[in-house]
Amino acid sequence: MTATVVLRADGVAKRYRSRDALRPLTLELRAGELAALIGPNGAGKTTLLSILAGVIAPSAGSVDRLPREVGWVPQQTALYGRLTVAENLRLFARLERVADPGATVARMLDQIDLAERAGDELSRLSGGNRQRVNIAVGLLADPPVLLLDEPSAALDPRQRERLWGFIASLVGEGTSVVFSTHELAEAERYAERVLVLADGELLFDGAAGELGSSGDGKHRDLEAAFVAFLAERGH
């Protein structure tokens, strides 16, 4: 049985003056799907995620979800350093108009395993812990879709492991997750679907294994397959 489509982007594109940051593309996300967005620097990954999250308006096309129905975790921590962990979560829970902000904050603190640090100012936390709070804020409204922009970039291996365990539990509960990354091993290991962007163009949309078997199919890993794939298409 095909899962329900929870987000549809139809012909979205972004143009900055004479430069196409994102060429028209259409994609659908299904409930409980975990998709990786990969591509070289400047490929348009952050632009696509920002459009899907409603942070920037597309030059063309549309997204069928309201911004507040989509969870968004930007690459850089988008929180207030002078507020405590709990105050940050409470503020955004109130702004998200969550029914019971207090209970939601407590639940999130448990989920990200930072209940003991709830009263600490965010600026005193390590980069990894800040990223966990950053992700928690994206999940406060219990969105059906979560967009993560390079979520593991500032994390050490142990923190990454915990992060992916956490994301896996969300997916297991039916949340659709799209994450961008430069770590192709992560994409290969965790994502069931891979989207390849280059120069604002969606070049590939399928399983990681399909990307690995492109060309002559003799690639030692996904990274090698990805580089060969881009080279074949002139990128």
Binding site: L83, L91, L95, E121, V137
Partner: protein, 446 residues
Amino acid sequence: MRSVGWLLVKDLQILRRSPLLSGLLIVYPIVIALLIGLALSRAPSKPRVAIVNEVPPGQAIHIGSEQITVAQYVASLNQDIIPVPVQTRDEAVQKVRSGDVLAALIIPQDIIARLSSGLQQAEVEVIYNGDALTASYVRSTIDSQLSQANAELSSRLEQVAATEIDLLLHGGQLQAFGADVNILGLEKSKAILDGVIGSTKEPATKLALTPVANFASLGAANLGLSKSILASVSQPVHVQETTLSGRRTPLDTFAVAVAVCLSLMFVCVLLAAGSLALEREENAFPRLVRGLVSPEALIAEKVLLAGICAWTVSVAMLFGIGAFVGLDYGRAGQWLIGLAGGAIAFGALGVAIGAVAREVRAASLLAILSSLPLAFLALVPSGAVAGGLYDVIRVVCAVFPFKPALEAMNAAINASTPSLGVSLLHLLIVAAGFAVLARLALRRFV
């Protein structure tokens, strides 16, 4: 609206966690209020001036039947100086050099002879030290006191001269050489001559006396005018003051309005600019404006935050200064309204600066760099610069909020023109303009 409230709470929490900034917000109005209050309520201390009186004791200036001693003349100087009596000119110079006194006044021995002669101008010598800062103040104080003393002396001379003229005109008793001499006076002389001319039968006598009677008549008429002439010579220009519009604003309460507006501007502009730029620096802006808060609401929240803080600080400062300077507390309601209008306009200027600068440090720097010159421009009086330049300054001042805020506070404190209502309208228009500018600049914020 609730979102704005939550953001406001968040910003106040951040302010509370910034001890330097919140301490500055509390200490700043107290210090400024104390400084301005003390400066306005205490006149500058009197300069110490050495006085050398070389005139032998007991000598006096004799003007007609009047006597003026040197001590009386010196006493008239004492109102605004602290006299330090010394014996010699050298001693006085030494005291000026050592800084014990700021100046010395030498009254020479011949002053009595010169004044009494009526032919020579009397002179006094004033010695200043070379300190440029104090010399100007001391010089103006002593010049003013000498002018006042001279004016009093001149007035006494005028009174004596007027008495003598009256005696010549109307006749009376004059003390001379220890005896009373009866003076007939020109008016009585003419009457007697007219009587003799009318009663005499001899044409030669009549012919001889008629020119004398005419001279007496002419002399009486001209001497009658001479008193007015003397008065006009002793005070050639009498100043009659007229204020064309509004109430005359006392300098000290105008200074209060300027000080309060400066504080309001700095706190408001810096806070609004900094807090908006901080949303971008913390990367929170994109998260907020994706459906949680509209950019317009965010601008309103920052204006509100800066306005509330700056308004509170300025009100505290105004009431603090009020303890030193006589302010009309019956107008306190208008002060609060005037400050609110200014706070909104300065807040709007602040968010425009924050939106354009996009970084907290750049926003703070831009806020200071733009606010200070605008405040100075608003204080340039008409006539101080060329007409064309003043017109440009007027336009610039009308576009930015300092001038209308100052006019609003001046109207609120001193009931001056333009009225508080007109100034508030001006402030609201300026605020709307800067809010629109801020909204446009926020397009580049993500």
